[in-house]
Symmetry: C2
Subunit: 413 residues, 2 copies
């Protein structure tokens, strides 16, 4: 074949990739072949693809093709990675057939049955505490923070998040709380220390629960906080309050009704609860690349879908807040810290792992910024509960002040 | 028949009614026949039913049977009416077959097509402005108020509601707003006067729109506010903001997608919107008696059901607040004013109408108190909108202070 023909194939493949990518102001380059978007916007990045096989895999499935090529260094991004991904997210439309087939396969093979969940959670959360310590805050909080102002530090914002969760629930001394999916234990310990409640906290990540137990011991709250290494489906006792921060994404829509039954068993018709989860504006499966490499079994529901947890039990929704820009900000902090520790990660886990995780964090910033993902906090109560905060004004008492007693009184009628 | 046999029939009918009513602490009496609940709670009320035919209709369908008997004075309630209804709502369970048949018939015969909506809305909102003036606040607001504290006056609470809606939408001078279902025009006029926006407000109630136009003229804002006597489905122009307070209950689930399309046509993917509506914890038709006499075609959706308006258009939900106790409080004020004007209503419209409306208002207080009904306010934005208030703290600036510019700046990113 003459060089002209070869370059002709590349141009055709670039054109296919362009169709899937849409008009994002990103130039696509393989050797002499170039593809520029039909847009008047200035080009913000150039993707340099050294090999045709890489281009082919990207043209068949841009998401997985690009993700794998980025991890293995077979594609170069000249330009800001986050901005490039944000622009690609906003521009791209339909999914190719290969993506849809892969997506279906993953939905089936990574189903969140008890054994499936154990496998899925182990894959991500048992990587190693030392690895997460490189880029999370000092409390090891791995969920969306709450930034009272965009300029707040990550540490301050994570503490504000813990405080805000307790405030939304209007916790009272002596109450009992069940937390499912408790991570490294920060929220359970904060609730015990600052609100005087008793907490039973569930998690199936062995690494995390071991860490949490040791931490509770060090803080001297082991009598108030019990960490249980088990699936949320095993919760059987009665509590005043149910709480889950960042677990619903791992439950899967097939198990929402079951989760609702577990919550109802725990708090009945008179308790109250809180769900914090990554969601969507309209239903769509999670990125195939993310499910393949980062979060097996993950699914971010829409509000409509998540109501499948609450409505069959007649739970009453009191308050929903969307904090997606706070998650974008949280992830910016994580990405900056990850980048600062990059060489360290490469040394410990190899360059492919490091690049894969960098792409996951950068892609997540872009997903929350562009609105591809949302972050919902839902406060609810049992149908016969008398918990109904009169207004939400008490939530906005400055964080260095205690909430007035009057406000607490007004949380029930 | 001997008197014993007669009383035996009554006792059996009372027992049937009791089964449908459940263990509510309410005594049922017809002549010598009595039925007391199996409960240790003290009896809060006695229903005295003078005639067997009335008892029969109540035993076949307690809701419609009681409602009609109360309106026509064929049943007496010894005890507080609101408390009695609240207790009955909390206690009663399954619906008898007659209720279900009547419910299906109404759902069909009162469907909210364009002509059906015109009929349904005319039935309620065109009764007469003078009648509503007897018991609404001075602004003629006929939707849930916002009580900064439970002690606020109805006038103050209705003004606070108007202000809160504008704050949630973070209106900016010069923006354009479309309001559908604008009642007597108070919100549209408030927005124009206090936030400097231009409003087109739709309503199919002739009485209301005539009143609203005249009011806008008196206030000198006719150049900013246009009142249009037409169906929401006819909205065709583009606006920055969509707003609807108390209309979704009249739209009907069959038309939610269509409403979503109308909203999307109006604000596209970059505008923002607000829905305020009576809702439910779990799906159920509205009271048959209420649909028969008060709100033909009414249906209060769950959050899940109402998402059928927003999700197909990829609208992003930013904030949902449940204000049901504020509606209970609003209705308490209306009921007290209605009771004060009772003789007046009897003179103008007859005693049956007056008792029917008294029961509707008392039943509504009970429904919101008991959690049978909810009140949701939903703030949302188009998928590509950059409207995303950083926090909700600015909503809680005292009502006599202006919101700081900084807070406004933080409403977009």
């Amino acid at each position: 074949m003459s060089p002209t023909t070869t370059s002709g194939i590349d141009e055709k493949l670039l054109a296919v990739l362009r169709r899937l990518l849409g008009p994002a102001p990103i130039a696509l380059v393989l050797g002499d072949a170039r593809n520029l978007p039909e847009t008047s916007e200035p080009i913000i990045a150039t993707l340099r693809i050294p090999e045709r096989s890489t281009l082919l895999s990207m043209a068949l499935d841009p998401e997985v093709g690009f993700g794998d090529a980025y991890s293995t260094g077979r594609v170069e991004v000249d330009g800001d990675l986050v901005r490039t991904l944000e622009s690609a997210y906003q521009s791209s439309g339909t999914r190719p057939w290969l993506w849809r087939m892969r997506s279906k396969w993953l939905t089936w093979s990574q189903a969140n049955t008890r054994s499936g969940s154990a496998r899925n959670i182990h894959h991500h959360y048992d990587l190693s505490n030392d690895f997460y310590r490189l880029w999370l805050d000092e409390r090891m909080l791995y969920t969306c923070a709450y930034f009272p102002t965009p300029e707040a530090s990550l540490e301050a914002a994570q503490e504000a998040k813990l405080e805000m969760v307790c405030r939304k629930l209007r916790l009272q001394p002596g109450e009992t709380v069940v937390e499912v999916g408790c991570g490294w234990g920060a929220l359970a310990i904060y609730m015990a220390q600052h609100y005087g409640v008793g907490v039973k906290a569930y998690n199936i990540s062995h690494e995390q629960i071991t860490y949490a137990r040791e931490w509770a011991r060090r803080e001297g709250v082991s009598n108030q906080v019990e960490f249980i290494e088990d699936d949320y489906r095993t919760v059987k006792e009665k509590f005043d309050v149910f709480c889950s921060v960042g677990m619903l994404e791992h439950v899967g829509p097939d198990h929402y009704r079951e989760l609702g039954q577990v919550i109802h068993r725990a708090i009945g018709d008179t308790g109250r609860g809180f769900l914090h989860y990554i969601g969507r504006n309209r239903p769509a499966p999670l990125s195939v690349w993310i499910r393949k490499h980062i979060f097996p079994g993950g699914y971010p529901p829409t509000i409509r879908e998540s109501m499948e947890v609450l409505e069959p039990q007649s739970f009453s929704v009191l308050d929903i807040e969307n904090l997606r820009m706070h998650y974008a900000k949280t992830l910016e902090h994580w990405l900056a810290r990850f980048d600062a520790a990059f060489e360290n990660v490469v040394r410990e886990r190899g360059v492919e792992f490091a690049r894969m995780w960098r792409l996951y964090l950068a892609g997540s910033v872009a997903a929350f910024r562009s609105g591809r993902l949302q972050l919902f906090q839902v406060l609810f109560a049992g149908k016969d509960s008398r918990f109904m905060p009169w207004t939400r004004e008490d939530l906005y008492t400055p964080f260095d002040q205690e909430i007035s007693d009057q406000a607490w009184t007004r949380a029930t009628y």
